[in-house]
Symmetry: C2
C-alpha cells in the first residue's frame, strides 16, 4: 500500500467537496440566514486539507489496484466527515456523531436521518443535506461504471465486459467520456424532475432538494413526515416515475435519449426490474384492498406503488407507515430492501442483475442434478456468463448475507430487539434509509446509541461500495508494503 498516493487522491476529493460547500453558503445568504459562515469555514478546512495534501504529495506515484480500494473506501469517509462539519459547527446538529451520520447517510445516498425536527432547519442546512445525496449519486455512477470495473470488483464488471450486448458497446469506450455522458444524463433527469415537481405544485426550493434526493436514490426529505407531508397525488406520481428511472441503468437512459428507447424492452435486467415492481405492487394492493385500508382503490395503488418503488430503488421516501400494512407487505418490502436497484443505477442493495444471475444459477444447479454429465451455460442478455463471474456473484451474495447477519448479531448483542436490528442493518447495508421496528418509517435513527450509529455508518459505506471494495481492506495482505 502506497499511502502517499492514496492521500493525494483523497486530497483531490476533499477539494471538490470544498468547492461544493460554497453553494449552501450562497443559499444561506440568499435566504438571509446566519449560518453561511459555517459553510465557508468548512469549505476552508477542506481547501486546507485537500490543497495541502495535493501540494506536498505532488510527486506520489499513480494508483494501482490495491490503492484503488483504499481510495474508494476512505474517500467516502473523508468526504462524509468534511460534509458533517457545517452541520456541527453551526449547531444545527449539535452532536458530531449525529452530524457525521447525517452527512455520510447523505453521501452514501442512504437517506437514514437522525433529525427529529427537520422543518425548523435552515435552508442552507437542508440544501447541503440534499446536495450530499446528489454528489454521492454522481460519485456512485462514476464508481460503478468507471472505477470499480478497473479494480475488477464485483458483478459490476458485468456491465463493461460481459453483459450489455446492445447497451455498452454503443457507449464510448473511454472512461472519461463515459463518465461525462452519464453525468449529463444524471443532470438532465434532475432538471426534468425539478420542473415536473414544480408543475405538480411543489415550491422550487423543495423541488430542487427532492430531485437531488430522488436521482441519487437517497431519500432525505424536507418534511418530518417525508413526502407524505405534501399529501399530494401529483407530486407522488412524479416521484414514482423519477425514482423508478433512478433505479434503472443510466446507460439505458442515455440510449433512450438518443432515440433507442426500444432497448429498455430488450434488456433482461430492466424487464425483470419492471416485473418485480409490478408483481410486488399487485400483491400489496391485493392485501390492502379487502381490508379497506385506504378509502379509494386509486390511493391504494398509488401508496403501494410508491412504497415498492421507493424501497426497491433504495430511495426510502415515505408516504405511509408500511408497518401498519398487512404482514405480506412487511415480507415483500424486506426482500425488496435486499434486491435493490439495477446495475449502473444510483440504487444500492444486491442489485437486480445479481439477483437474476443467482436465480438462473440455482436453476442450473438443479438441472445438473438430473443430468450430472451435462454442460450448462448461464445466459444473460444473450451472452454466456463465465463460471468465474457466477462464483463472484455468489460470493457477493454470501458476503452480503454474512455482513447482514454480523450486523444483526452485534446490534442484538447490544440489547436492540431483533426486528429493529434486522431493519436497521438491512436499511443501511442496502442504502435505503427507513428500516423496521424502532427505526421504521414513522420514526428515525436519533434514539440509537452513538456506537450503533458508527456501526451503521460503516454498513452504509460497505453497502454503497459493493462490499468487496471495503471488506478487502480487512485482509492483512491489503496493507503489505509493495
Amino acid at each position: 500500500m502506497n499511502y502517499r498516493s492514496v492521500i493525494k487522491v483523497l486530497g483531490f476529493l476533499l477539494l471538490v467537496t470544498s468547492a461544493c460547500l460554497v453553494l449552501p453558503a450562497i443559499i444561506s445568504l440568499a435566504y438571509g440566514e446566519s449560518d453561511w459562515p459555517y459553510f465557508l469555514a468548512s469549505s476552508g478546512v477542506g481547501l486546507l486539507l485537500g490543497g495541502g495534501s495535493l501540494l506536498f504529495l505532488r510527486g506520489a506515484p499513480d494508483l494501482r489496484v490495491r490503492e484503488g480500494f483504499a481510495v474508494v473506501a476512505f474517500g467516502w469517509l473523508c468526504v462524509g466527515l468534511l460534509g458533517a462539519l457545517p452541520f456541527w459547527l453551526s449547531g444545527q446538529i449539535p452532536s458530531f456523531t449525529d452530524a457525521a451520520f447525517e452527512s455520510i447517510s447523505g453521501f452514501t445516498t442512504t437517506g437514514a436521518s437522525i433529525l427529529t425536527d427537520i422543518e425548523s432547519r435552515s435552508h442552507g442546512t437542508l440544501f447541503w443535506r440534499a446536495m450530499t445525496h446528489w454528489l454521492g449519486g454522481m460519485g456512485i455512477v462514476l464508481l460503478a461504471l468507471a472505477i470499480l470495473p478497473l479494480l475488477g470488483v464485483g458483478g459490476m464488471q458485468l456491465f463493461r465486459a460481459e453483459v450489455p450486448g446492445p447497451v455498452a458497446e454503443r457507449l464510448t469506450p473511454r472512461i472519461r467520456e463515459t463518465a461525462k455522458i452519464l453525468w449529463g444524463v444524471y443532470f438532465l433527469l434532475t432538471v426534468a424532475e425539478i420542473l415536473a415537481l414544480i408543475i405538480a405544485g411543489m415550491g422550487p426550493f423543495d423541488a430542487i432538494c427532492h430531485s437531488f434526493a430522488t436521482m441519487a436514490t437517497g431519500g432525505f426529505s424536507n418534511n418530518n413526515s417525508s413526502v407524505g407531508g405534501y399529501n399530494s397525488a401529483p407530486i407522488e406520481w412524479v416521484l414514482i416515475v423519477f425514482m423508478f428511472l433512478a433505479g434503472a441503468n443510466f446507460s439505458l437512459h442515455y440510449l433512450a435519449l438518443k432515440g433507442k428507447w426500444k432497448l429498455y424492452f430488450r434488456d433482461e435486467e430492466f424487464k425483470f426490474y419492471g416485473t418485480i415492481v409490478l408483481v410486488t405492487t399487485s400483491l400489496i394492493v391485493a392485501a390492502l384492498l379487502p381490508i379497506h385500508f385506504y378509502p379509494h382503490w386509486g390511493e391504494t395503488v398509488r401508496q403501494s406503488l410508491f412504497q415498492v418503488v421507493s424501497i426497491i430503488t433504495t430511495t426510502g421516501f415515505g408516504t405511509a407507515d408500511y408497518l401498519l400494512w398487512p404482514p405480506i407487505s412487511h415480507a415483500l418490502l424486506l426482500i425488496l430492501m435486499g434486491v435493490g436497484g439495477c446495475a449502473g443505477s444510483t440504487g444500492g442493495g444486491i442489485k437486480v442483475m445479481r439477483v437474476l444471475i443467482l436465480l438462473k444459477h440455482a436453476k442450473l444447479e438443479l438441472k445438473k442434478m438430473l443430468h450430472p454429465r451435462g454442460v450448462f451455460t448461464l445466459w444473460f442478455n444473450n451472452r454466456a456468463i463465465s463460471s468465474s463471474l457466477q462464483t463472484n456473484v455468489l460470493g457477493f451474495f454470501l458476503l452480503f448475507m454474512m455482513v447482514y447477519i454480523g450486523g444483526v448479531l452485534i446490534l442484538t448483542l447490544g440489547g436492540r430487539d431483533l426486528l429493529t436490528s434486522v431493519g436497521a442493518t438491512a436499511a443501511t447495508l442496502g442504502n435505503i434509509g427507513p428500516g423496521l421496528g424502532e427505526v421504521g418509517p414513522a420514526s428515525n435513527y436519533s434514539a440509537l446509541f452513538n456506537w450503533e450509529k458508527w456501526l451503521l455508518l460503516f454498513f452504509m459505506i460497505v453497502g454503497r461500495l459493493e462490499l468487496f471494495t471495503v471488506l478487502v481492506l480487512f485482509l492483512p495482505g491489503a496493507w503489505r508494503k509493495s
Copy 2:
C-alpha cells in the same frame, strides 16, 4: 421416469413400516389400552399396499438416478401418510391433516407438534410418535451416507468422495456394510441414552421415547412442556450430551468406538461444530447473567447450553421459553436454526460442513480481489475441494434461501405475521420443531390453517432430503419418458 420401479421400492418401504406398526400395538396391549386394533389395522393397510405393489411389479427394472429422486421424495411422504393412519383411526388425532402433520414431522425428525394435550395420549400413540423419529433418523443416516452420494446429491457427496481424510477411508467401502455399521452405532447410542436417562431418574417408557427423539434429533417429548416438564438437571445434562452426539458425524462415533477417538479433534467440521456451540452458549450466558434471568449461574449455563444444542442439532427439545430471553439469543438461535447439525448426522439444516465451506469460499473471493491473477484452493480436512463442489454448496445455500423466502412470502400472504412466518419456515425447513412467534417454544402448530400445515409438511420433507432431491422433481425434465 419409470413409474413401476418407483412404486415397487415405495411398496418395500411401506412393508417395513407395516412391520414396525406391530410394536406400538404390543405396547398398547401391554398397558391394557384399547387402541391396539388401530395399529394392527394400519399395519394391515401397509401390508396390503406394500405387498401388493411388490407382487405385481416384481418384474420392474432397477432404479436409475432419476427414479432415485422420486423414491426418496415420495418415500418419506408415503411412509408418513401410513404412519398417520393409527393416530387418525384411533381418534387420538381426529383431523387427518393433523395426524399427517404429526407423523411426517416425526419421520422427518422435525418434531413440530400439533398436539395440545400430549400427556393424556395413550402409550401406544406416544410410542409410535417417538418411533417415527427413530425410524426417520435411521433412514436419514442411510440416505445421507449411502443413497444420496449415489444420486450425486448435494455437499453430502463430500462425505464419500472428497472430505473425510482420516474418516471415510476406514469405513468399509460397500454401502450395505457402511449402513450396517452406522445403524449399529445408532442403536448402541440409543441404548446407552436409555440407560443414562433411567439412571438420571426418568421412567423407562419416557426414557425410551426421549432417546428415540434425541438420537434422531427429532424432539417429540411426552410432556406438554417438553423436557422442561421433568425440571431435572441430571436429565437435562444427559440429553445435552446425547443431542450433541446425535448432531455429529456418526462415522466419527464409529471410529471412536474402535478406539480412534482422537479423530474428533482432527476433524475440521467437528471442531467448528464444537466451537459454534461454545461461543453461542457463552454469548447467551453473558446476556442472561447480568439481568439475573435465572437465580444461579449453573442453571443459566445449563439452560443456555441445552437450548443451543437443542437448536443447532435441530432436535427442538425445550426447557425454557427462549423468546423471553434478551434479543441476542433470538438472533443467535435463529442463525443456529439455519446452520443445523454435521454432515452424516441425523440433524437437519444447511449443515456445519457446508457453512464452513461457505465461509472459506467467501474469504477466498475476497483474496481474489486483491490478487486477481492468483490461484486459490479451498482446503477442507487437508484436502482440496473442487470448484464444482464449491458451486454445488453455494447452489444449495441459494436454494435454501429461496425456499425459505418463498415460504415466508406464502405464509405472510395468507395473513400470518412476519415473525411467525419466519419462525415456522425456518423450523420446518431446518427440521427443528419449535419456531418463533405463534409457533414458538411455549406454543405449537395446532392453531395454523390446514393449508399452512400441508405447506410446512412440504418444507419438512424438502429440508430433510437436502432440497435438491425434492426440488429436482419440479423440473419438467425429471418426468420425461425414458
